[in-house]
Amino acid sequence: MRILSALVMALAIAAPAAAETVLVRDGRVVTNGAAGTIENGDVLIVDGRISAVGANLTAPRGARIVEAQGRYVTPGAFAAMSEIGLSEISGSGAPNDANISGDLIAAAADAGRAFDPGVTAIAVTRMEGVTRAAIAPSSTETMFVGRGALVSLDGGDDSVFRSQAFMVVELGEVGARRTGGSRAAVWPAFEAALRDAREYPGRYRSGQGGAVLNELDAAALQPFARGQGLFLVHIESAADIRRLIRFKRVNPSLRFAIHGGAEAWQVADELARANIPVIVDPLSNLPDRFERLSARLDNAAILDRAGVTVAIAPAPGSVDAHQARLVLQLAGNAVANGMEWDAAFAAVSRTPAEIFGVGAQIGRLERNYTGDLVIWDGDPLQVTSAPDVVFIEGVEQPMVSRQTLLRDRYHPSRRNVQ
């Protein structure tokens, strides 16, 4: 009997049910869109997409009704940066596809082709309400950290829904360390790499080769160097951010977002004018690096008030493979330090989708958006809350993970049961 139930559990983790027509009724619906929050709202999901949102929707014939009973109903959360799916265990010498050593590959590294939808962290994370994530390698030996991907956390074979979605580049302390130890070398090297990429394949076929990039990296960098993809730039200090703003002024076709930005609050108005989004960590308030000496807890709130597009994720260096679910705690702390609730929730759902170019399909409860929906047992930004029900593309996700199986095996109520 126990073997059978273990098998059923294992299947439950692996294989969610099929999409169905679902009417979620009578919730506090956070649309993340023009309709704002709808009290006593309904959401209808058909064929994995949202087909209607509003009050008193009529259930189509055969629709499954889920009574939200006034609970929060929100879009799924979007982890704006994670290494989820790139390792089962990140340390201990276990295989970890987030770290790339050697000089063969840097810009050409492709996280989407390392992603494994079967890692146990997927089930752990999605049952906490996180349905999408941006993933990227965490380190290479150059300033280029490689190409990130956007993934669903439904555990399916086709979880990577946008590969090569952005290019991570280190232009702060880490970038300097990998470029001869100095920022004075970083920017010339970055510009030279962009030239190599723009002149690919010509200069490589001619035998001239790249000034700084090998042929693989130049090929991978080319679309980004031509403004066809997003550079996600790791910088923290106000001085580095100003340099990036100036660089964008001279290179208006290039697309940039900042990850880190601990001192962005000092440059908030300039960032808003330059239309450069920032992914910040609301817990970053220590002068733990020289590039973060003026980090402060209300960074996200200040940026948001200034009109900067703000998403929330762990700071570079704190991103991991197992705790993407904590983005909701990060957003709650942004609220505790002055950010509006709607903006903070958007910063871990709609805004990451918009920054990474999928904001027309993901991140809102609006007609034609993907049916990623979570019903919560409380305010989703409260650490004490958790989802009751999670849908990804209209499919209800099992609330079972390796952690819940361990929990149930060692539950105190079973202590005397052998």
Binding site: E88, I89, S90, G91, S92, G93, A94, T120, A121, S237, A238, A239, E263, W265, Q266, L283, N285, L286, P287, D288, R289, F290, L293, S294, R296, L297, D298, D320, A321, H322, Q323, L326, Q329, G332, N333, V335, A336, L381, Q382, V383, T384, S385, A386, Q403, L406, R407, Y410, H411, P412, S413, R415
Partner: protein, 461 residues
């Protein structure tokens, strides 16, 4: 404490005998003075303070509504309804607010791994040999670490600073007050608190020394290393004792042995980094072989598997709310670890091991409470607060001084803007020994010397 002071005194006699010219001899010449390395902490001046009409978690598991808390002369005087204010007392309106004992972090590296984190400030682990029981974390503590101020803003009034975990024996840990403006570590030392010995199980020592092709390289190498060291310490302690009884010469001073002998005689408490259930069980076997106490296992990711054993041995478990998966010995981490240990009758502690986490340990306790409740356990929020104050005080052997709001205890008190087991609550006022050391929103919060005059900084938060 008395036995420990005696121990220090005996050592300083040993110093005099060893004829080391540079060693201070204050101990014998000024019996009333401060012994070398002892605390010089002095509470700030305080006025009597009455907090009125708050929700109070007393740190012992009880919740009082609409209650008053009276502090005077640095101590808790009473908690209850309609307390009279002494003359000249400061009155704090507690309406809508929550009052708790100050948070005690049983596992911190503030000061020894300070901000900014660069090679020169990485001062927390003497990774040169597997047994460095001779080093003391307090001698690496930089009182100007800006992290202390952030911790206070998170409601922390006491913290235990430990060496890192690369070694079998990492050295002595120290219990500190986060004294803003302290110039020396002695000004931060919690008076009378025993030092600890930090030991480490598992992957870290085996990886660090195994990769140097030296022992330990394995779990069994770890255990052999602990046992041989304690066997040596037993012999050392016997020779010290014989000499005290007039039989023979004392052994040459050996700082490593002094620490281990201090564990054997109970003067130094043991804080043991250990993740896995089976490794904690092995550690307990060693404590039986050599007859010493383990105060707490730290990280204890699998404590929930051996709650019965921990209860039987009276060992606390200092735990993260939800860290897991970052290495294989953390693979079985579950979010119900703390509530499961609690429900089994164990001494559960929420610890940080992090300069970020220490700033919001209340949220970590809140997560553990909520996860425990969702697993069907009945735990009150006031019981959850014992994980943050009374239980760590127990593990640090300072529970007769702080950790609860019992009359006579040090007045280490936090006034929260709302239920602190929440994301949105913030510490509005923090009292240490009855003195207001932090008030949210006041611009006179004292930044560390490091942060003064940095022109890229705005108003310090």
């Amino acid at each position: 404490m008395r036995s420990r002071l005696k121990f220090v005194f005996a050592l300083s006699v040993g110093i005099a005998l060893s004829a080391c010219a540079t060693t201070p001899e204050a101990e014998t010449e000024e019996p009333a003075g401060r012994a070398p390395y002892e605390s010089s902490y002095a509470p700030q001046a305080s006025t009597p303070t009455l907090i009125r009409g708050a929700t109070v978690f007393d740190g012992n598991g009880a919740e009082l509504t609409n209650a008053d808390v009276l502090m005077q002369d640095g101590r808790i005087v009473s908690i209850g309804q309609n307390l009279a204010a002494p003359e000249g007392a400061a009155i704090v309106d507690g309406a809508g607010r929550f009052v708790t004992p100050g948070i005690i972090d049983a596992h911190s590296h503030l000061g020894v791994y300070p901000s900014p984190s660069i090679q020169a400030t990485s001062d927390g682990n003497e990774v040169t040999q597997p047994n460095t029981a001779e080093v003391w974390a307090e001698h690496s503590v930089w009182p100007q670490d800006p992290g202390f101020q952030r911790a206070v803003a998170g409601g922390v009034t006491t913290l235990h600073v430990l060496p890192g975990s690369a070694n079998l024996f990492g050295g002595r840990g120290v219990t500190l007050r986060p004294v803003l403006g302290a110039r020396t570590v002695q000004e931060m030392k919690f008076p009378g608190a025993p030092q600890s010995l930090k030991m480490a199980c598992g992957e870290n020592p085996a990886r660090v020394y195994g990769s140097r092709n030296s022992s330990p390289a394995t779990g069994m190498g770890n255990v052999a290393g602990y046992r041989q060291a304690f066997a040596n310490a037993q012999r050392y302690a016997r020779r010290v004792q014989s000499a005290e009884e007039g039989n023979g010469e004392p052994p040459d001073r050996d700082l490593e042995m002094e620490t281990l002998a201090g564990v054997l005689n109970g003067d130094i408490i043991l804080q043991w980094h250990c993740y896995r259930a089976d490794e904690m069980a092995n550690a307990i076997e060693i404590s039986h072989e050599f007859n010493f106490e383990i105060a707490a296992f730290h990280h204890a990711v699998e404590a929930y598997k051996i709650t019965d054993l921990l209860v039987q041995e009276d060992i606390c478990a200092a735990i993260w709310a939800d860290w897991w998966g970052f290495k294989i010995e953390a693979y079985d981490g579950i979010r119900e670890n703390i509530p499961f240990v609690h429900a089994g009758g164990g001494c559960a502690i929420v610890h940080s091991d992090s300069e970020v986490g220490i700033q919001r340990l209340n949220q970590e306790a809140a997560k553990a409470l909520a996860d425990g409740r969702r697993a069907g356990l009945e735990i009150t929020r006031a019981e959850a607060w014992t994980w943050l104050s009374r239980n760590p005080a127990r593990a640090l052997r300072i529970d007769d001084e702080t950790g609860t709001l019992e009359p006579g205890r040090r007045a280490d008190v936090v006034v929260w803007s709302a239920d602190p087991l929440s994301s949105y609550a913030v510490a509005e006022r923090v009292y240490m020994d009855g003195a207001l050391i932090y008030e949210r929103g006041q611009i006179n919060q004292r930044p560390s010397d490091f942060e003064l005059g940095q022109t890229y900084r705005g108003v310090v938060q």
